[in-house]
């Protein structure tokens, strides 16, 4: 067993462990942190596959941005866990049976017999100076230009949707606008009114 294989199994074990913890751990903050660990280890696995650009992007986007915001929200929520866990044990047997069947099916269909080295050719190893990033860039802007543009439209829709659903037109906070403050003149604010007394002063009559 070479170093790469050992690394693969180590990272794989951590990944499976972390993914399992994400759904079993009670505290949502811990769940989010385990998810971070899961992303990180899968990035490591991708590096073993020589997909360093994707691996680093995974860390950059998911670990660095998405999960931070996720944690941000999870920490602020005061989730009462007791009701969420209700019925867990009741549905557990059914869940295990269904999950077991699916796992068995996947195993029979997607196994080494169909996806092993006999069925699929071994991918070519690239030399050390092979630039994954450059090659990806080349195909994304040529062969895959159309899907790439569609993806940008999807992101635009996401932004529009997020703003349409959250932006409230009326703001409650009050701002001071200095440029309006300085042009105020006395006559805008104060009006001096001369008026006769409405009541006789006591003592004059």
């Amino acid at each position: 067993m070479g170093v790469e294989q050992i690394l693969f199994y180590v990272f794989g074990a951590i990944l499976v462990f972390a993914a399992g913890m994400v759904i079993t751990v009670r505290n949502p903050v811990f769940a989010a942190l385990f998810l971070v660990l899961a992303f990180f280890t899968s990035a490591a696995l991708w590096i073993l596959l020589e997909a360093e650009f994707l691996a680093i992007t995974l860390v950059l986007v998911y670990v660095g941005a998405v999960m931070v915001l996720f944690l941000f929200v999870v920490m602020m929520l005061d989730i009462n866990l007791a009701p969420l866990q209700e019925g867990f044990t009741r549905y557990l047997p059914v869940g295990i049976v269904v999950a077991g069947i699916i796992v068995a099916e996947i195993y029979f269909a997607v196994n080494a017999e169909h996806f092993g080295l006999q069925a699929v050719a071994e991918p070519v190893r690239h030399a050390a100076d092979y630039s994954n990033t450059r090659e990806l860039g080349r195909v994304i802007y040529t062969a895959y230009a159309y899907p790439f543009e569609i993806a940008s439209a999807i992101l635009l829709v996401a932004i529009v949707a997020a703003i349409a659903l959250t932006l409230r037109a009326k703001r409650q906070s009050k701002y001071i606008q200095p440029e309006k403050q300085v042009i105020v003149r006395r006559k805008d604010r104060v009006r001096i009114v001369k008026m006769p007394p409405e009541r006789e002063e006591p003592g004059t009559s």
Binding site: V29, L33, V36, E52, F53, I56, T57, V59, L60, V63, G64, A65, V68, L69, L71, F72, M75, M76, S131, N132, T133
Partner: protein
């Protein structure tokens, strides 16, 4: 000497590799830690002079041993774990803060070829690793079980995520200009004297990168995460002793990192300001010639200047209000970077000399 070499070659190859790598890592980390220690001293001195004070001058000659005294003090202080805090995460947080700050140095080149790992996607690696520093702060804030710490963590998380975008776009500009993600190649793309460096064609990106760097490190005037006057000391209010010291270390290590990256990407890395202009004979003068020619000492000089800017900012600017920080990040920096990316793209296509010829 020969016997030493013989012992060395008898060691198995993998062990050789590991030893060499560890030695290289130590060669980076130990000077870095010392720089951090003396950066704190420099900060107090500089701010002292700006405020017409003397600054620390008691420990050792002219106060030079002050950082050592501080370190010793922090090491011997008790680490207090607040009750009903999350002990594991509480201790993990400072480490998560420091880890990325050190890990990013793996791809920083000090000279052509003098780099720990010369990876192809170095710039991306830097972005990815530096984006992870925020976890230390968030976890510290949450695990402390204190509302001030938590408020600080939230502020810092939002701030860092916001400025990362502007920072990332600025780096995209650099990548466009240099045509590579490898940091060594980015520097060699700027070969030449001051005018050849990327600071001028990428001027807005240069400013934005540095300002975003200041915001990313939570330094004044963007230090709302600490905000002494509002939330006591922000995310590290509950920390004491060594755990606090590690946060401190991480903050200064990050400052140095931002400075070195700015120097590499915009200020020509190890090239001397007159690189390529002086005659060969001038460079051959013993001593002075070395000083005048390209080399790591120029990188060091640039880093020092940028670090001085950090200290100068802190002494000069009042703290930003939180909504102003967000406005600056999202509504000013991001649009400017996007517009300038188009300009850079145009310049690259037009092959504007001397940068993109």
């Amino acid at each position: 000497m020969d016997s030493l070499l013989a012992i060395w070659s008898s060691v198995p190859e993998s062990a050789q590799l590991i030893t060499l790598t560890v030695a290289k890592i130590l060669a980076i980390v130990i000077p870095l830690s010392l720089s951090v220690a003396y950066l704190t001293f420099a900060e107090r001195k500089v701010i002292g002079y700006v405020q017409v004070r003397i600054g620390p001058n008691r420990v050792g000659p002219r106060g030079w041993l002050q950082p050592i005294a501080d370190a010793v003090k922090l090491m011997f202080k008790e680490i207090i774990l607040p009750s009903s805090s999350n002990k594991f995460l509480f201790v993990l947080a400072p480490i998560l803060c420091l880890g990325p700050a050190l890990a990013a140095w793996a791809v920083v080149p000090f000279m052509d070829g003098v780099v720990l790992t010369d990876i192809d996607a170095g710039l991306l690696y830097i972005l990815a690793i530096s984006s992870m520093g925020v976890y230390g702060i968030i976890i510290a804030g949450w695990a402390s079980n204190s509302k001030y710490a938590f408020l600080g963590a939230l502020r810092s998380a939002a701030q860092m995520v916001s400025y990362e975008i502007a920072m990332g776009f600025a780096l995209v500009g650099v990548l466009l200009a240099a045509g590579s993600l490898n940091l060594t190649q980015i520097v060699t793309a700027q070969q030449g004297w001051v005018w050849n460096w990327f600071w001028f064609p990428l001027l807005p990106l240069f400013f934005i990168y540095f300002i975003a760097g200041v915001a990313e490190t939570n330094r004044a005037p963007f230090d709302v995460a600490e905000g002494e006057s509002e939330i006591v000391a922000g995310f590290h209010v509950e920390y004491a002793g060594m755990t606090f010291a590690v946060f401190f270390l991480a903050e200064y290590a990050n400052m140095i990192l931002v400075a070195v990256l700015t120097a590499i990407m915009f200020l020509g890395g190890w090239y001397a300001p007159w690189s390529g202009l002086l005659p060969e004979s001038a460079l051959a003068i013993p001593g002075l010639g070395w000083l005048l020619s390209d080399g790591p000492h120029w990188l060091l000089a640039k880093i020092s200047f940028l670090l001085f800017l950090f200290l100068w900012f802190r002494a000069t600017f009042p703290r930003y209000r939180y909504d102003q920080i967000m406005r600056l990040g999202w509504k000013v920096f991001i649009p400017i970077t996007i517009v300038w990316l188009l300009v850079v793209g145009g310049m690259v296509i037009a092959e504007v000399p001397p940068w993109f010829a």
